[in-house]
């Protein structure tokens, strides 16, 4: 029996005026994997994530989550989203923020809220107002907000931006724990050492998916020792093709 992909996009396009922000992306992401969307700034990662969530309407192409065409509001109760910018209510406490978004996703389990806060290690600050928190704590709160309704699919847009290396390591251990428990994660990043931690990677450039595969496969394809090297070669080859 073939497994149905958790998320798939078919020939997805998005234009903003003359800018072709997402250009024919076809993806298929399986249950329990950590899929890294890697690419430089402005390569279309955020637009792709927003298209997947139905926050933007594609110019062409389709998105399916758990086999259902997007936009589909109801499916979103099974999806967690952590936007790039904080996106928290400054005047509410950590717990109030987490509880609010959980409730919006239809979850009414106080235990799950506490669990999400504990997972990001903020039990001691649960009653603190978000505006009193440091940048790293805000990121952790933001992650907890996307987790507390126990989604089966998590889309995290550059979750470790502005996060110190120690906390970044902690985040990735959360992600792995979640994946082991069956949650599918899509994580965008432009940091290469994070790419190594993903099960599969999609390299994006100028709205296109340049290459896809496991970190090992990608290194092998370009005969590179590191992922960074491999990515640079993919980009170089792509530029050459573009100029030819």
């Amino acid at each position: 029996m073939a497994f149905e992909p958790v998320l798939e996009t078919i020939d997805l396009h998005k234009h903003f005026g003359k800018i072709h922000a997402v250009n024919g992306v076809t993806l298929s992401i399986n249950s329990g994997e950590i899929y890294g969307l890697i690419g430089p700034n402005g390569s279309g990662k955020t637009t792709l994530i927003r298209l997947c969530l139905g926050l933007l309407r594609p110019t062409a192409g389709t998105v399916r989550i758990f086999g259902k065409a997007i936009p589909n509001k109801m499916i979103l109760s099974d999806v967690g989203y952590m936007p790039q910018a904080g996106a928290l209510y400054e005047e509410l406490t950590v717990r109030e923020n987490v509880a609010f978004f959980a409730e919006m996703c239809g979850s009414h389990e106080p235990a799950w809220i506490d669990e999400a806060i504990a997972l990001v290690g903020l039990q001691d600050r649960a009653r603190s107002l978000v505006r009193t928190l440091s940048g790293g704590m805000r990121q952790r709160t933001s992650l907890a907000c996307s987790l507390a309704h126990r989604p089966r699919l998590l889309l995290l847009d550059e979750p470790t931006v502005g996060v110190d290396p120690q906390l970044r390591a902690t985040f990735w251990s959360y992600f792995r724990r979640l994946a082991v428990s069956g949650v599918t994660l899509i994580v965008s990043s432009h940091v290469m050492d994070e790419a190594e931690r993903c099960d599969r990677l999609g390299l994006m450039r100028q709205g296109r998916l340049l290459a896809e595969g496991t970190p090992g496969e990608l290194r092998k394809q370009k005969n590179a020792n590191t992922l960074e090297e491999a990515f640079l070669r993919f980009i170089e080859d792509d530029s050459e093709r573009g100029t030819r």
Binding site: L55, L76, S77, A85, A87
Partner: protein, 391 residues
């Protein structure tokens, strides 16, 4: 101090403002709009007030001047001025026409009007006022009394062979005739002053103003801090979000309008006739309209600075066109449809009906329904406007 730095700073500030095209447009068009409206309204010739006349005067015979009819003479005097549009009525129509607002006052000349004048040398005018606009009521009393004085003066001048007709000239030996008015009010009364008439508007405008700003800025912040995007990625629908805002801010709107209302009634001591609960209902609906107007307006603002600029654009036309200081019937016809689109107009009329006329829900419901309808349309429009940013 470095002038170079100052120049650079000024250049940067100008650049920033110029990049914000909406602000530039508002800087240019907001004052033009407000000035134009003001000029149109201040210059508009008020439509003549309709005043009813019941003339049953049968006249009388005077040994000095033969047969005279004082009622007819006063009618001629009133017709000569252009402040009123006179409507001849029969006595049985008086109450209905006053109640419908068709005529703002009715002067009744009874059968023995001339006869009793000849007997007592006193004119007692039977003046019945609609009374819901104290300023207009006072103007009518003054104008009618003046017309009566002029009539008397002319008549006495004619009969006594005196030239000149001004009884107001003062000085000894001039003829001054006693004219008094027996005034009855359908609504309001002598104790009602201009503020009693303005107060309903004041309450409605204040009730709307603060919640409008509150909603506008709160919603704007939701966008600027990115939470609206996170919210859009949940099953919550746009309609649910707008309703959530409406109820959340509605509580504060309600607290505020309660304070405004009780302060106006008990501390400032305005006169009112109808039910306080009904007044609260009207202002509460107005506050809800203000919230939804704020949410809708926030869709057009990028910064809090732009929200402040909405005050002349959204709120001043409400104050100017909503029947606050000028009756809609006094406005140029091309402005009237815009005036009828102002939610505050319906709150004004409903509040005045309750406060000055003492009307109940049974009478004011059409205006309340329109107001609630506008609120509903705004909820739908706000939800639709959100589509532009979140699919």
């Amino acid at each position: 101090m470095s002038l170079r730095r100052v120049r650079k700073l000024a250049w940067r500030v100008m650049r920033q403002v110029l990049r914000d095209r909406r602000t530039v447009a508002l800087i240019i068009f907001a004052p033009i709009l407000v000035l134009t409206l003001g000029a149109i309204l201040f210059r508009a010739e008020p439509a003549p007030v309709s005043v009813g006349v019941v003339n049953e005067d049968e006249g009388a015979y005077s040994p000095l001047g033969g047969s005279i009819n004082l009622g007819q003479r006063m009618l001629d005097e009133l017709t000569a001025g252009d402040a009123f549009r006179l409507v001849i009525l029969s006595r049985s129509e008086v109450d209905d026409r006053l109640r419908s607002g068709d005529v703002k006052a009715v002067i009744v000349f009874p059968e023995d009007f001339t006869a009793s004048f000849l007997k007592s040398h006193q004119v007692v005018l039977d003046l019945r006022l609609e009374g819901s606009e104290p300023t207009r009521s006072k103007a009518i009393i003054a104008y009618v009394s003046q017309a009566a004085m002029k009539t008397m003066a002319r008549m006495v001048g004619t009969y006594l062979g005196l030239s000149g007709s001004s009884p107001q000239g003062g000085g000894e030996g001039e003829v001054v005739l006693p004219v008094s008015a027996q005034v009855t009010y359908l609504y309001g009364g002598e104790q009602f002053d201009t503020f009693d008439y303005i107060a309903p508007v004041y309450i409605a405008l204040l009730g709307m103003f603060f919640v409008f700003l509150l909603a506008c800025i709160a919603f704007l912040r939701e966008r600027s801090q990115g939470t609206i995007e996170r919210l859009a990625a949940t099953p919550a629908s746009r309609f649910e979000i707008v309703l959530g805002y409406m109820f959340g801010l509605g509580l504060f709107g309600l607290i505020q309008v309660t304070i405004i209302l009780f302060f106006t009634v008990w501390v400032i001591g305005i006169h009112y006739k109808g039910s306080l609960a009904l007044m609260l209902l009207v202002v509460a609906i107005m506050a809800v309209v203000g919230i939804n107007l704020g949410i809708l307006a926030s869709a057009f603002a990028r910064t809090e600075f732009q929200v402040i600029q909405f005050i002349p654009l959204v709120l001043l036309p409400q104050a100017l066109l909503g029947g606050t200081f000028w009756s809609i019937s006094d406005m140029p016809t091309y402005l009237q449809p815009i005036a009828y689109a102002m939610p505050i107009y319906y709150a004004n009329v409903a509040l005045r009906d309750v406060m000055l006329k003492g009307w109940g829900l049974g009478e004011i419901w059409p205006n309340l329904a329109v107001l609630a309808g506008i609120g509903l349309v705004l909820v739908i429009l706000s939800s639709l406007m959100m589509r532009r940013e979140v699919a």
